[in-house]
Symmetry: C2
Subunit: 217 residues, 2 copies
DNA sequence: CAAGAACCGTACCGTACGGTACTTTCAGGG
DNA sequence: CCCTGAAAGTACCGTACGGTACGGTTCTTG
């Protein structure tokens, strides 16, 4: 899933290492454990360097989100011709990837952080998270269902609306439950993904796409 | 840590007033603004009383959730005979109510609080929120779709699964977006609710229920 | 009316955090 | 070989919070 970053790498290797340690602290201690002294200690750097590099604590948090987002690189789908079966498969793969990403410790920790911060920083971190984290995934899904439409397998007027429907079918209230700490959320992501795709195709699939679908239960 | 209490008006009127002020502080200042001194000042009570009544800060937070949950009383649906139209209408009403509840300031503030606390308190507040806040809504929806099934308007094997589908169709990623501070989430809840119910009925409605539904767009 | 509990207001304590300043270490470059 | 700059390590400061203690005031109750 995660690929080496090719971009001009906003931060130096040393800084990336520091951000890595900061993420580690955040993941297994929550925001309260993410103190500037703690980060400095864990990363073997001085607090003065932290403030020089990131400005202040908020700058550090933003940098952590940017760094994490830069690690996750979603390969862009190229416009291969889709069949009914391959559309279904790609949708299932996307669903599983989405659930996996949302359930990841780092993702959960960063979302918790941004949510906790949102009331007092004007949603600065939240915007950042949505902008740099979600947009990649959104684009991938949009490209996929757009290909499905062009191949005559999907039918919809508003691609955004169709995607939101798909998202809701996949995630339901799982994300919020996980954010709240509910551990027994997804018992079987594969089954969940399959169900969501089946429902999505029943809603937006053309006859061509539904040809080899299982009958209504 | 405060003791578990029983239902009949868990707290005294005076304590309820204090909790009301605490909620108000939380809503427009976030968790950081919710200091014990601040609550005492806003509610014209002493810190000593706070600690006497609620044990410690965590006890106060728990009490706030319990108090808020006790205010929201969802009337139980009785088993009136459902028609295709009335099922549709009740589903739409439920959808709108759900969106309205999730978008409420107090709900958002408490969810943010519980999410921010979840890493370090073992999801105690999160569990409380799900248990006392969501269960009411869940029961109401389950009763509704169960009535729909008994009336021959809905078809499903697993009621839980059907409900989760409905929930996902209604909420999609709106809840998390709002928690992150995205303001332009729901532009038109009525339209959103209508769309969700339409999709839900296409997935789980029988021919009887679909008789007077609009054609596929 | 008197005794006692409940409670308010405030002052206080220890701690821990964000942020700054200073000294030391070390690598590279003329 | 020394000069310079970056960064580590440490000590420090102001502040603000959670929690406690105490004197004064109101409310209850017999």
């Amino acid at each position: 899933m995660s690929v080496e970053n090719l971009e001009p790498s906003e931060f130096s290797p040393r800084q990336n290492a520091v951000l890595e340690q900061a993420l580690r602290l955040l993941v297994d201690g929550g925001e309260k454990a993410l103190t500037t002294s703690g980060v400095a200690r864990a990363a073997n750097c001085s607090k003065e360097s932290l403030y020089k590099w990131f400005g202040d604590r908020d700058g550090l948090l933003s940098a952590m989100i940017a760094y994490q987002a830069s690690k996750v690189r979603t390969f862009e789908r190229n416009g291969e011709r889709l069949t009914s079966a391959s559309l279904h498969d790609h949708l299932v793969i996307f669903s599983r990837d989405l659930l996996e990403v949302l359930a990841g410790d780092v993702s959960l920790a960063l979302n918790r952080l941004a949510i906790g911060q949102s009331p007092r920083d004007g949603s600065k971190l939240g915007k950042l998270l949505l902008e740099r984290g979600r947009k990649q995934i959104d684009r991938r899904a949009m490209a996929l269902i757009d290909s499905g439409k062009r191949a005559g397998l999907l039918r919809f007027n508003d691609a955004d609306e169709a995607y939101h429907t798909l998202y809701g079918l996949i995630v339901s209230d799982l994300h919020v439950r996980m954010l709240l700490g509910d551990t027994m959320g997804v018992t079987d992501t594969a089954r969940q993904a399959e169900k969501a795709v089946t429902a999505f195709l029943r809603l937006y699939g053309t006859e061509k796409a539904l040809a080899d679908m299982p009958a209504v239960v």
